[in-house]
């Protein structure tokens, strides 16, 4: 199996203003296989988001290193807050492409395609984030991530703020996208049934340490 990410002995210590240190991750190693859906689970505060931010290169690990073979985009827990309230959904979804100087006609085409793919009505293009439901906003957040055509999508509790009916729709959407695109997904969640349904493997973090790797249909390995 081809690796798309390989995480080698990473640790992350946060030095706090109070002088306390927090070891958010300690000596974590694992591989992400190209094309898989990998679950990352663990109790609140165990280091899931810290790991996600390291993988997305938003922060640096204190020790160890991450080798990545592709581009990464992230989808966060609170869709409405992850959008700039001053811009329409269409503007925000297209923004990443504008920064890359993609021609206007091409941008419009890709925005339309993604609104379509993500199950968003075209008349939502002109709406502001607070004017749409949480589920619609999360679909737009997924569209905004996918428009950059990443190889890897990290969803950090992307369904937790949504009600259960919408959670299921977002999972169905991700599965549908996965069927159409060559995408690797890292799915962070505290919802075990959802991870079991959606993922093929899962790593369990406990107080910053990797404590188990599960694979569908097998006993825990590693």
């Amino acid at each position: 199996m081809e690796n798309i990410i390989s995480v080698k002995n990473i640790s992350k210590t946060f030095h706090r203003n109070s002088g306390d240190n927090t070891v958010a991750l300690s000596d974590v190693s694992f591989e992400v296989y190209k094309g898989e859906i990998l679950g990352v689970v663990g109790q609140s505060g165990c280091g899931k988001s810290t790991l996600a931010r390291i993988l997305a290169r938003l922060i640096k690990p204190t020790e160890g290193h991450v080798k990545t073979n592709g581009s990464i985009q992230m989808v966060f827990q609170n869709p409405i807050q992850s959008f700039d309230p001053r811009h329409t959904l269409e503007y925000s979804v297209a923004e990443g492409l504008k920064n890359k100087h993609v021609p206007k006609a091409e941008i419009e085409k890709r925005v339309s395609n993604l609104f379509n793919l993500c199950g968003l009505d075209v008349d939502l293009k002109d709406k502001y984030p607070h004017q749409v439901s949480g589920g619609q906003c999360q679909r737009a957040a997924i569209a905004r991530a996918l428009i950059m055509e990443p190889d890897i999508l990290i969803c950090d509790e992307a369904t937790s703020a949504l009600d259960v009916t919408v959670q299921k729709q977002i999972i169905d959407l991700l599965m549908d996208i996965k069927a159409h695109k060559d995408l690797t997904i890292i799915f962070i969640s505290h919802n075990l049934p959802l991870v079991e349904m959606f993922c093929e493997r899962a790593i369990i973090l406990k107080e910053g340490k990797l404590c188990k790797i599960y694979q569908k249909k097998t006993e825990p390995i590693g």
Partner: protein, 268 residues
């Protein structure tokens, strides 16, 4: 005590001419927990915000009354509402990080919040806060106390927001999906403290939730919303055991996604 503790009376709210809450009525008695359930966009958050007077200016309250302890909340001015918010009507937000001050430590802001409403010294405030925080499944409360919000995880901030609202001990507490960012164990700890608060202090709680288990475990009554309308309401037993509509059944039917037979993940 007032005749009616809390009454939401035929309230209609529109955004841009579109009805978001359509002549909704319900009552809450002292010490009762009302669960508010409904699909996304059904008006749950709009109802909660209208009670606390924090709807934004796009919202237009067309008709109805909200009565708390004989006061008509919709007729109060900003200053009067500010006096009620927090101490009289507490609020647990869906996104607690927004409710916390980014540049002060958790400990400082909890102590200050308590002391703004009550004449106790810092040490007493700290003691009371620790008693509650110790129950919320934190690994190290001392460390938490000295932290800034940005130094905490999403779930840790959510629990701090909940604790802060509870520590002011308001007679009425509004909670908009209070446990959505929490793992099962932390969510359980929070729900049981909310229940204890209502039983021991007589706190009334209006809780929006998408967790049927939470409704079953701590609510007395439940209000079911769809498209801004009340589909049904009644005691939890009545609504859970005898739902009138398929819509309610689907919402409250156990779990949306059940455990897989192919593999079972455990956090232990």
């Amino acid at each position: 005590m007032a005749d009616t503790f809390f009454k939401y009376d035929s309230v209609t709210i529109e955004f841009d001419g579109e009805v978001a809450v359509d002549s909704v009525s319900f009552l809450v008695n002292p010490g009762e927990i009302l669960g508010v359930v409904g699909e996304s966009g059904s008006g749950k958050s709009t109802i909660i915000k209208s009670i606390n007077g924090i709807l934004n200016s796009d919202a237009c309250i067309k008709s109805g009354q909200i009565i708390y302890n004989d006061k008509k909340l919709l007729t109060l001015n900003n200053r009067e509402m500010r006096r009620i918010r927090g101490k009289e009507i507490g609020m647990i937000f869906q996104d607690s990080i927004g409710a916390l001050c980014p540049i002060r430590t958790i400990g400082n802001q909890i102590v200050e919040a308590i002391r703004a409403h009550e004449r106790i010294n810092k040490e007493q405030a700290r003691e009371r806060a620790f008693l509650l925080l110790e129950k919320f499944n934190f690994r190290d409360v001392n460390k938490l106390w000295k932290s800034y919000p940005f130094e905490l995880s999403g779930g840790m901030n959510q629990r701090v927001g909940i604790a802060m609202a509870m520590l002011l001990n308001p007679p009425l507490l509004l909670a908009d999906e209070p446990t959505s960012a929490l793992d099962e164990q932390a969510a359980k700890a929070v729900l049981s403290e909310l229940k204890r608060m209502s039983v021991e202090n007589g706190t009334s709680i209006i809780m929006v939730t998408h967790d049927p288990q939470a409704v079953r475990e701590i609510c007395d009554h439940v209000l079911v919303l769809k498209n801004g309308n009340v589909v049904e309401q009644g005691s939890v037993n009545q609504v859970l055991n005898n739902p009138e509509s398929d819509y309610t059944k689907a919402l409250l039917d156990a779990v949306p996604v059940s455990r897989s037979d192919e593999w079972k993940i455990s956090l232990a």
